[in-house]
Symmetry: D2
Subunit: 348 residues, 4 copies
């Protein structure tokens, strides 16, 4: 890797927040029991329960996002039930069939701004209720959404409440993928707290991998006892870390002194700076959302020029001469790199 090139292609490039390394340095040669039955995991779970104002919650630590999505969905749903999501949902697009590997059909609904609209959901559910052949089709069992979405947009409290009520009405479970949740929580535009998530969802997870941890996702089931054998199911899905105390350690640090609530702030601010530079350079945004992902349209000529100076993620063809690409900031982004990036953009 050419380290002279600015790194803005994803939010999972650097290992971890310094507090985590510090704690690991202190603990790495102490023995802890395996599989999460240790004191650090317990402390971390307690911090998360408090942050969610949900003392009854069951909290479990898994390793990665795709793994967490597949394990949660398969643990909650019988196989004749499918999972509804926006057509841009991560489970519908970029998980190599991991959900289908657990035998569940992903049922994508046309989304807007990366979001599942309560209206589209209601339309689907009404149609389904009326379908005379519905016993011959996959039963919808759960709604999946991401906060923030894969496009960086946010559900408002009103939107999630509407979706939650629809789910209750139609006896569907609600699952929120919070792989990038720290960036939502740090956005001034956001009005959905951890406590709201605990009230509105049946299960959600708090992302670690993209939000300051080396790896790890914390699954929260507000109503503990819903899945009596969830631990065994995690094990069966190959998602149980032997040294689970390393997961506990990371979340214990992320939830110490509200670090998790603020760790995304700079990333969001830097994204705003980059958006301003793109505006100055006349490069149109492909959706303008308040978190750490910046999608924009660029001509292929300028893209070639940019490639020599800054790493981006390629998304899709826009038209014959241009494409959509993404810059991603993160908890680890450095101010000087943002400055350089903005200069480069303005110089295109």
């Amino acid at each position: 890797m050419n380290t002279d090139i600015l790194q803005f292609q994803s939010d999972y490039q650097e290992a971890c927040h310094e507090n985590i390394l510090k704690r690991l340095t202190e603990e790495y040669r102490k023995p802890y029991p395996g599989y999460g039955s240790d004191s650090i995991c317990e402390a971390a779970k307690e911090k998360i329960r408090k942050a969610c104002h949900c003392p009854t919650a069951q909290v479990e630590f898994l390793v990665g996002g795709t793994q967490t999505n597949a394990t949660v969905i398969d643990s909650f749903l019988p196989s004749y039930q499918g999972i509804l999501c926006a057509d841009s949902g991560h489970i519908a697009v970029h998980e190599a069939g991991a959900i289908e590997l657990t035998r569940h059909k992903v049922l994508p609904l046309k989304g807007k701004d990366g979001k599942l609209s309560p209206k589209a959901l209601e339309a689907f559910l009404s149609d389904f209720a009326l379908d005379e052949n519905k016993a011959h089709t996959v039963q919808p069992g759960m709604v999946y959404l991401s906060q923030p979405t894969e496009y960086g947009s946010l559900y408002s409290k009103a939107e999630l409440t509407a979706i939650s009520e629809l789910c209750k009405k139609h006896q569907l479970l609600l699952f929120v993928d919070g792989a990038r949740l720290a960036y939502a929580l740090a956005a001034p535009e956001n009005d959905l707290s951890l406590s709201d998530l605990a009230k509105l969802c049946d299960v959600f997870y708090i992302g670690g991998t993209k939000c300051g941890a080396m790896f790890g996702e914390a699954v929260v089931i507000p109503d503990a006892g819903r899945l009596p054998h969830f631990f065994t199911s995690i094990k069966q899905h190959g998602a149980l870390l032997a040294k689970a105390w390393l997961l506990g350690l990371q979340f214990d640090e992320l939830f110490r002194d509200e670090l998790y609530l603020h760790i995304g702030e700079k990333a969001n601010a830097y994204a705003r700076e980059i958006k301003a530079a793109l505006k100055d350079a006349g490069l149109p945004l492909f959706g303008d959302y308040p978190t750490n992902q910046v999608f924009f349209v660029i001509s292929h000529e300028k893209m070639e020029q940019l490639k020599k100076q800054a790493q981006y993620a390629y998304m899709e063809r826009y038209d014959e001469n241009s494409s959509v690409i993404r810059f991603c900031t993160s908890w680890s982004t450095r101010e000087e790199d943002v400055k350089k990036c903005c200069e480069i953009i303005r110089g295109l």
Copy 2:
């Protein structure tokens, strides 16, 4: 956890070897691309290929043992094929149905000393070949064994060669689970090298989690190209780490200057000391094998006494008054703790 109690219950309690922490401290705030497409992974893979004298090998890093077993078996076998193993094999006993979750039947054969004997395997395969109803039963597709075994015993080069030849003759694949491979490689009694494994197996893995790493298992497929889509299959099984460079980093350190070949030496020596103490104390071994696990029979009265001073792993009831328990040493075991443990044993 009462830290005054000696910790001998497992070999996955402390985080990692100091070289790994040191390297992580140097690298933790450098950006690396995701999913294993980074320079550290490449360097680590090259070191492993060299250690195996197998320049053509495909090497992939997964996170944990159960996950690796399930992903490898499911990637190599169609679902009508099952996997043969000793009845004490980890996949047959302690993986919560993770192999069955991938739809493969585990076919346990009666083992001896935790090992699958070439003779038992041959008998099964001959019977199967003659079975008139064999098209109505699960087809054996792969042989699984662990080196060292779940009991700590070792396959000799002659034994593995015999099994490998049987596999070739009957068109079965051979898969070796090396979750504790470092302890085998460090045993003076061992005559099976990494290079032998690469010659005799279709796929094997080099364990990290129990051998000095925080987590991680390195899958080696000597004949690269056998599974063109193995990467996608790993992803689909939820086994792809986003920051895979952390896996590369750990194996790069474990294979620097032959660390992996020696990291188990002390553990084996300490196990011998503990066995000597048990002998002195008149506590009979439950199998005497050259690696880091020590199984022995103890009366329930003495077990209660021991419990206050040293953590062990409970295995199974032996008879009305006694049980089999295990002490486990590891790369992280300290000499003074072994001394104390031996004193405690002798004092029972």
Copy 3:
């Protein structure tokens, strides 16, 4: 069931063609060995091989359509591969997740007239080939199409040839679902013979259930030997009939004296008569295709009137005041019922 009401809701209502009942009456108390190892199955397979001009074909008899689709797809594809089809494809819509139950993602492409267009397929495959993230997504492994389609339309020989060539170019398998194949073969507009199917497909099936048999679908794999353990896979999928000779018996009759090639003729002709009546009555067709299914738009008022005299299949809402419904003729439809049905239609 009110037998005074005309029955046009589906093509699987009556048990079987009289030749099949006659043969069953002759054979029903003779003993035959199980699982297809009998002389009648062998004779039927030979007749099918001859009808397909494909002496090398492997022919296997399964019981039902959804079962056949799931078993064939799962037997040919590893789980990281998905199956492309038109968005109206039966596997995408009406099989209750049976394909996902075998862990394969169904990848629907926007169809036209119920058909997958070679152009849409080529566009998808070109995009996929260029996708930088393709290793993170489901790999397309097979193309599924129905002849005739779920709408009753037909692929021409030119269209299927184009699709077959695309499949070969991109190393995809081609699978044709012929649940209603007799109606295609009997249509004057059709130019795709059984022999063409055997040349162009990797696997297809000849439907019995909707084409004169009590049940049964004959899977044809032109290149026998492609799936050495297909029999065991059928068994594992619960799709092996103990008295498979009953399947053989039915196909032996359907392929005696070219019965199968002609059994759909009257059904197609009757469908044309019904379409003429609908035209006369001013009820617009919802697609006009040459086989035995007639879809049309009808006001809810007239639908209520119709309901008292003739059974139809309800398809979907068309607009506020009208819906799409289907009349289906079959090998068992009686002329006098068609006459009555046309009168009823004209009287609406």
Copy 4:
């Protein structure tokens, strides 16, 4: 097939009882709605509910035994639960991994006379309850047994009651495979009625394929409502017959005038005659049980001689010079064939 050879190799060789053919001849050209929503299915279900003295039961018709086992087990159990059975249980031995295909581990316990003993079951469940690592292993969720067993033996009412109580105590479901149930019900030694099964089991099935039908198994769930989406699950498992009325028709005939309760009587009597002949000929029985299967030991020399005159099923090697083989009588066995068979045996 050489029809001069007596046919005693299995109980699924002839198509069906004459009443079924007669009824089919009457009905075969009448239209019935699909998927079991017809009047014949309803009548058959009602007859079965009455025969079981269980007016609340849900009854569903599936096609074959392996399919029924897999569909029932997978519909009732989450995947982390396995199924306990005797080691000779059909699901453990002869279903090509069909249960594992649905991701459930089969947990065989050492049986006696083909039966799971309440004692062995209790021992397993007690050990499991005490196992400190039980969260890392497959959870037992259901007990499977066959009545009669694969060896032809019978559970008594006392035995099944004991097993049922153990299941309730340990929160396991009880599932009885009645593929050959007619032969149990017709045995004078039997004291387990259909009504007892409905009281003691959570689900069982009444076999058609081996008991007079062309195909078909009737699943009975005494407490209807246990599985609200069982119909969709049947469809998803490829086990829904389009012309389900053909299943209804067969069971409607089998349960007319108690035919099913008596259809196995002659078969059992004929089996007794064969056993008497074997005794006379000095050929030792391999278990002596009161239903229609006769297992015995025969020297290879005599086996060769027998082979020319009567078809048997080969079971397994007994010793160097002899093997275990099986004669099977059925509802379709003819008296004159039994006479001839006995003569042949006595002449060996």
